[in-house]
Symmetry: C2
Amino acid sequence: MAPVPAKPAVRYRATVEYDGAAFSGYQVQPSVRTVQGTIESQLERMLNGQVRVHAAGRTDAGVHAVGQEIVFDALPPWNAADLSRALNSLLPDDILVRNLRPSGPAFHPRFDATGRRYEYYVGPPSTGPLRAARVWALAEVPDFGRLKNASALLIGRRSFAALSKAGQPELGTECTVELASWTRTCLGDLRFTIVADRFLHRMVRYVVGTLVEVGIGRRDVAEWSDLLCEQEARPPEPAPACALYLTGVRYAEGWNRNPGVPCLWPMPDGDHSDRPNHEV
Amino acid sequence: MAPVPAKPAVRYRATVEYDGAAFSGYQVQPSVRTVQGTIESQLERMLNGQVRVHAAGRTDAGVHAVGQEIVFDALPPWNAADLSRALNSLLPDDILVRNLRPSGPAFHPRFDATGRRYEYYVGPPSTGPLRAARVWALAEVPDFGRLKNASALLIGRRSFAALSKAGQPELGTECTVELASWTRTCLGDLRFTIVADRFLHRMVRYVVGTLVEVGIGRRDVAEWSDLLCEQEARPPEPAPACALYLTGVRYAEGWNRNPGVPCLWPMPDGDHSDRPNHEV
């Protein structure tokens, strides 16, 4: 009798939230706690073998996510509901997997992404201990008009070599920024939203740090413009990681998550991953 | 020539916020990190001598505060502005002192208080990692009507011996509850607000834990009523400390702080301690 052919593995995708405070970033590294390493080790317990998790992007140490997208393979008889329940029951409190579902065998969260959305939250002075790990509480309030005018210069395609950590890899330093806006939240914070096709290492933190310098008058717009053209010698200071959030990734079918961060911005009851996607 | 008489010490009061997560409660204890011990040790550095800080109430390990009231004495030439600036610059990020001002020599934050306000936040299921340390994310959503009806029974004066940790001290176990209400926040949380003349050890956590049991149908209102009369044998389970906040203390001149918690509820820009007090 011919052997029964093994059932093929099924590819699953999910949207992942994490509090970045206690992780050395997303990407797996030896002997430190990472988001990827933590998810992989729990999936390996469940699936009895080595599991590779691919994500839309590698967030830095301390950076949070509410819209990271991941993919991994699992053999039947596992299904999406059981995988979701089992994985969330094993993961620590600072990671949550939402909306886990089959993805189709060819889906890749990084290569198929057409845009990433990051949000950065600047709190008022004396924001207080209960929000200190979620926003950047500045001693001086930046001028909202200056922030808006300076960030408008970001739109378009250019090299971000001067606004990222030295040593960028294979793909070069050019990024296309399609949205860069400042809004006020109902909590009195200033929120910076940036959407681009890709982001370099520390890029959003350098951008925000420099925009805030412009907003409080420590750097003028001409210097900011020169940094964008790589003509400015005064290096930028990165804004703190604890106030930066990866809030969504865009695929052919739309964003994987609505804008906003649950801790800082009103969200209706229930699991927001089920609500319809909309553009930023 | 007669010696110049020493200037008398001035008594200062302040409203204190803290994130309770990394403290073994408010009250000073040997060899653990407490809120009182942390504030006293920094004041002792500034004032060159032993300093005693008195507070309105002793919050338990893990419980947060945005409206704790403290008092301490300092000699001239210290003044309120310098004390506030120096103390906040020395305190760790999880404590912030607001609205530091002279109090009059007879003021005592505990004995002069006529009421304390605690708030407890129950989040929707799957609240997520970014709010996990701020709300109690229940797997089942409690019935709002049952919560409201059960909490109405709290109003009035009674012993809370069955709803507090065993071994209460000198003053007995009677408390007068003047407000006990459930509201929904704009973040989709259920907020329990309770105002009483005094609170026993763990009392709010036992009350909320039991009200939630009633709200999800695990305990009926008759049992709750029996607990309030100390006639029920099934002991209550305390709700987690991380979602409990001391949000204000009432003195003759009014509350020291408005209701609400900055992380969870919209607050206008700036230091809210300067806005007019209002009743709960």
